[in-house]
């Protein structure tokens, strides 16, 4: 169970990233944020976001057009 879940379904670039950044502020260090999105571009974008910010993209999956990302906030 993630520490926080962000529903970014229906939002287009760059809103899922911007909202994820804000949501991460409410997550404790080393805590996890789950993000649900429907933007297919969010896969590449969350990978880049995590590489750049040092947060860890623990897993991502797709189910019926909904993408799920689990990010661990860097300590």
């Amino acid at each position: 169970m993630a520490d926080k879940t962000l529903d970014a379904k229906g939002l287009n670039c760059p809103l899922p990233i911007l909202k994820a950044r804000k949501a991460l502020k409410d997550v404790p260090d080393s805590g996890t944020l789950e993000i649900l999105a429907t933007d297919p571009g969010s896969v590449a974008d969350f990978e880049a976001f995590c590489r750049q910010t040092g947060n860890e993209l623990m897993e991502h999956s797709e189910d019926g057009g909904t993408y799920r990302f689990l990010i661990r906030k860097s300590a």
């Binding site: 939002l11 287009n12 760059p14 911007l18 994820a20 950044r21 880049a48 750049q52 910010t53």
Partner: protein, 162 residues
């Protein structure tokens, strides 16, 4: 700012609905990725800082502007772009389309930019030229000129002109 930290600056020169997107999308995203960002608003980009935005676009001279319609994509011949009210109609259509597709409004992106502490510089010369004052603008912009921008740009890793 640590020496390892990357930063970005953008010169914003255009203020139509379509051209307002790239600078605000890139600025907010870079800020979300931890980069200090500066936006320098000059010429037609300056009105993007006005309190009330009613951004418009025009299909005139823009053959690439084609809207999804009736299963295809439709453009507007230049001759029709002179019809009174056509720009307003096109702008409304574009805003509806953006809303439907979950694309943020410029107002929303601008608010997120301010929230993310993007540094906003209003070009003093353009303020004089078009007779604007900071009272017309949202809270946050500072005044500056070319030298102010160049100083920022010498320190930035990414400098864009849009």
């Amino acid at each position: 700012m640590s020496s390892e930290e990357k930063s970005m600056s953008i010169i914003v020169t255009k203020g139509s609905l379509d051209w307002a997107y790239p600078p605000f999308i890139l600025a907010t995203t870079a800020a979300a990725m931890g980069l200090p960002v500066t936006m320098f608003f000059t010429f037609y980009g300056l009105p993007l800082l006005l309190k009330d935005l009613n951004l418009q676009l025009t299909a005139a001279g823009n053959p690439a502007m084609k809207m999804p319609m009736m299963g295809g994509h439709m453009g507007l011949p230049n001759i029709l772009t002179a019809v009174p009210g056509i720009d307003a109609a096109c702008s409304k259509m574009m805003k509806n389309l953006m809303n439907k597709k979950g694309v943020a409004s410029i107002e929303e992106l601008r608010e997120l930019a301010v929230e993310a502490e993007v540094r906003l510089i209003a070009c003093q010369m353009t303020m004089d030229l078009f007779e604007y004052s900071l009272d017309d603008m949202i809270e946050g912009p500072e005044l500056g000129g070319a030298a102010t921008y160049i100083e920022v740009a010498t320190q930035a890793d990414i400098n864009l002109f849009i």
